[in-house]
C-alpha cells in the first residue's frame, strides 16, 4: 500500500500535539476542498432537480430547494420511461465494457510480453483509431451497421463501443502489465502453467487494480457516449441515457429540472458498478513477493 502506512504513521509520529492538530487541520482542509470541488456541481444538480423552473433561475440562487418538488423526477419516469432507458444503457455499457476489457487484456498482454511481426503496426493502428475524431467514423460505421442489418439494435452500439474502448483499454493495460515482475510469471511457467494459465491465474489477479480502473473507464465512456447512440438507435425503447437526456434540450427551452434529475439518477447504476469494482482497486499485491 505504498506510502499508505507511512501517512498513517505520520499521525502518530509528529513531534508535538500542535503539529498533530495542524496536520489534522491541513488534512481536513484538503479533504474538504476535494469533496466540495467534486461534489458541488453534483449537489447543484441535485438541488435543481428538486426545484421548479422559477426557483432554478431566481436571481439569488437558493442553496436548497425552498419549495421542493418531485415533479421533475415524476416527469422523467412517467413521461419518458426513464427506467427502461437506464436499463438499456446499463446493458449496453456493461456488455461492451466487459468485452472490451476481456479482449483488451488479452491483446495488451500479448503486446506487452511477446515480440512478433507487425507489433508496431498493430500498436500504431490501435492508437490511430483512438486519435481519429469520432465524427469521422460515424458515416462509415453507420453504413457498415446498415449493411449488416444491425442498425437500431443494441449489438451495433455494443460493437461500436468495444471498438471505441479497445484502444484505450489496450494501452492502459499494457502499462499495468509491464509493471508485473516478470519473475512471478516465470515461476508460474516453470510450475507448468501454459501461457493462458499464467495469464488467467497469475497476471490477471495481479493487475486487478488496473483491470478495475480500465473497466470503470470503459463503462463510463460507453454509458455516456452520445453520438453513436444517437445515430444507431431509432426505437425510443432502445435509447440510452445520454440520448434520452438530450431530448430535454428542446427547441425553445432546456428542461433543466428533468435534466438534473436525469443526471442524478443516471449516476446511480454507474456508481454501483464503480463501488463494486473499487474493492479491486484497493489491494497492492506485488508487495513482498519478489526481492529487489
Amino acid at each position: 500500500m505504498s506510502i499508505t502506512r507511512f501517512e498513517e504513521n505520520r499521525l502518530h509520529q509528529v513531534e508535538s500535539k500542535w503539529k498533530i492538530i495542524g496536520n489534522r487541520g491541513l488534512f481536513a482542509g484538503i479533504m474538504a476542498f476535494i469533496v466540495v470541488w467534486s461534489l458541488f456541481p453534483v449537489y447543484w444538480m441535485a438541488n435543481n432537480s428538486l426545484k421548479g423552473r422559477l426557483e432554478q433561475f431566481s436571481s439569488i440562487p437558493t442553496f436548497y430547494p425552498h419549495a421542493p418538488t418531485l415533479e421533475n423526477y415524476h416527469r422523467l419516469f412517467q413521461e419518458m420511461g426513464f427506467l427502461g432507458t437506464i436499463g438499456n444503457s446499463a446493458m449496453v455499457a456493461f456488455v461492451s465494457s466487459v468485452l472490451a476489457v476481456a479482449f483488451g487484456s488479452l491483446a495488451a498482454y500479448a503486446l506487452s510480453r511477446y515480440q512478433f511481426k507487425g507489433k508496431q503496426v498493430l500498436l500504431a493502428w490501435i492508437l490511430l483509431t483512438r486519435i481519429f475524431p469520432p465524427v469521422a467514423f460515424v458515416i462509415p460505421l453507420y453504413s457498415i451497421m446498415g449493411n449488416v442489418g444491425l442498425l437500431n439494435t443494441r449489438i451495433a452500439l455494443i460493437l461500436a463501443y468495444i471498438v471505441f474502448n479497445l484502444p484505450f483499454a489496450i494501452w492502459m493495460l499494457i502499462g499495468f502489465f509491464s509493471e508485473i515482475p516478470i519473475e512471478i510469471e516465470h515461476s508460474a511457467q516453470v510450475d507448468g502453467a501454459s501461457p493462458f494459465q499464467v495469464f488467467r491465474q497469475i497476471v490477471l489477479p495481479l493487475v486487478a487494480p488496473g483491470l478495475a480502473a480500465t473497466a470503470i473507464f470503459s463503462f463510463v465512456m460507453s454509458w455516456n457516449e452520445f453520438m453513436y447512440a444517437m445515430i444507431f438507435i431509432q426505437s425510443p425503447d432502445l435509447v440510452t441515457v445520454p440520448v434520452a437526456l438530450s431530448g430535454l434540450v428542446t427547441e425553445y427551452l432546456v428542461l433543466w429540472g428533468p435534466m438534473s434529475a436525469g443526471g442524478i439518477l443516471s449516476t446511480i447504476p454507474i456508481l454501483v458498478f464503480v463501488i463494486f469494482l473499487q474493492d479491486y482497486l484497493i489491494k497492492g499485491l506485488t508487495l513482498g513477493a519478489v526481492k529487489g
Binding site: L123, F137, F176, L271, L281, L287
Partner: protein
C-alpha cells in the same frame, strides 16, 4: 500463441476500423456533398483550403490552449488526489467514490449544469464571487473567459480519470521502496519526488497521452456551453470538423480535417507516443 491473445482484437479492428479509416483517408481527396450525393476528385484541394482557412487556425489555437491547460491541470490534480487518497483513512472508499463522481455523469448534464452555474445573473458561481467580494465574471459570454470556463469544466470532469489511473498504479509500487527511502532520510516530499514520481512516470505518460488525445477531440462541452462562440472564441478542431461534416455534410473536407488533426495529435504527442511504445516493448 500470441495470436490467440490477439485474435479478438484484430478481428474486431479489421471489421470495424479498417474500413472507416480508409474511407476517411480516401474521401479526403474528394469534394463531397453528402446530402446531394455528389463527389468529385479534387486531389489535395481540401487540404489546401483548410490550411488557408483562418478559422481553422483559430480552432487549432483554441484546441491547443484547451489541451495544454486542461491536461496539465488534470494531471496535477488527479495525481495529487490519488496520492492523497492512497492511504488508510476512515471511509476511504466513500471519499474515493466521491472523487470519481464527476467522471460518471453524462457529459451533456455536466455541461448543462455548469452552464447554469456560469450564468451571469442567476448563476451560483457569480453569486458566490460577489458574496466573497469579487466581481461577477462573464463566464460564457466574454471571449476572454469562455474558453477558461470550458477548461474548468473539463478539468472538473476528467481529473478523476487521472486520479483513477494513478491510483491503480500506485498500488503496484512495493512498500519496501518507501521504507528504504525513509530510512535513507527521505522526507515525504523526497519520497514522492524520487520514488513515487519516477515510478509513476509510465502511467503519467500514458495518462498524458490518453488525455491529450481525448481533449484534442473535445466537442460536447463547446457544443453545449457556448456553441463554439462567442464568435469563434471556443471553436475547436473537432467542432470545425463537425461543422463541415454534419452541418454542411462536406464529408471530404471534414475527412481532410480529421486527417490533419490526426497528424497534429501525432506531432504534438510524438515524444510520449514514442515513450509509450517503448513501455509496450519493455519486456
Amino acid at each position: 500463441m500470441t495470436w490467440i491473445f490477439l485474435t479478438p482484437t484484430v478481428v474486431l479492428f479489421l471489421l470495424l476500423t479498417v474500413y472507416p479509416l480508409f474511407y476517411a483517408a480516401y474521401t479526403s481527396f474528394f469534394r463531397v456533398d453528402y446530402i446531394l450525393d455528389q463527389s468529385t476528385f479534387v486531389g489535395i484541394q481540401n487540404y489546401q483550403r483548410i490550411i488557408r482557412d483562418m478559422n481553422f487556425w483559430n480552432a487549432v489555437k483554441n484546441t491547443l490552449i484547451f489541451v495544454v491547460s486542461a491536461v496539465l491541470f488534470e494531471l496535477v490534480l488527479g495525481t495529487a488526489f490519488a496520492i492523497f487518497f492512497n492511504k488508510e483513512m476512515k471511509y476511504r472508499k466513500l471519499f474515493r467514490t466521491i472523487v470519481l463522481i464527476p467522471m460518471l455523469l453524462p457529459p451533456i448534464t455536466v455541461a448543462l449544469t455548469w452552464k447554469m452555474m456560469y450564468a451571469y445573473d442567476q448563476g451560483v458561481l457569480n453569486y458566490l464571487l460577489e458574496v466573497i467580494g469579487l466581481g461577477r465574471i462573464e463566464w460564457l459570454s466574454s471571449t476572454t473567459w469562455a474558453l477558461t470556463a470550458i477548461i474548468i469544466t473539463d478539468i472538473w470532469q476528467w481529473t478523476p480519470f487521472v486520479f483513477l489511473m494513478v491510483l491503480a498504479s500506485l498500488q503496484a509500487i512495493p512498500e519496501s521502496l518507501y521504507q528504504s527511502a525513509r530510512v535513507s532520510g527521505a522526507t515525504s516530499w523526497q519520497c514522492f519526488r524520487y520514488i513515487t514520481l519516477p515510478l509513476l512516470k509510465p502511467t503519467l505518460t500514458l495518462a498524458l497521452l490518453l488525455r491529450t488525445i481525448d481533449t484534442f477531440r473535445v466537442f460536447d462541452k463547446m457544443y453545449v456551453l457556448t456553441g463554439g462562440g462567442p464568435g469563434n472564441a471556443t471553436e475547436t478542431i473537432t467542432f470545425y470538423i463537425y461543422r463541415y461534416g454534419f452541418r454542411y455534410f462536406h464529408t471530404g473536407y471534414a475527412a481532410a480535417g480529421s486527417i490533419i488533426m490526426v497528424i497534429m495529435v501525432c506531432g504534438v504527442s510524438f515524444l510520449y507516443i514514442r515513450r509509450a511504445f517503448r513501455t509496450a516493448n519493455a519486456k
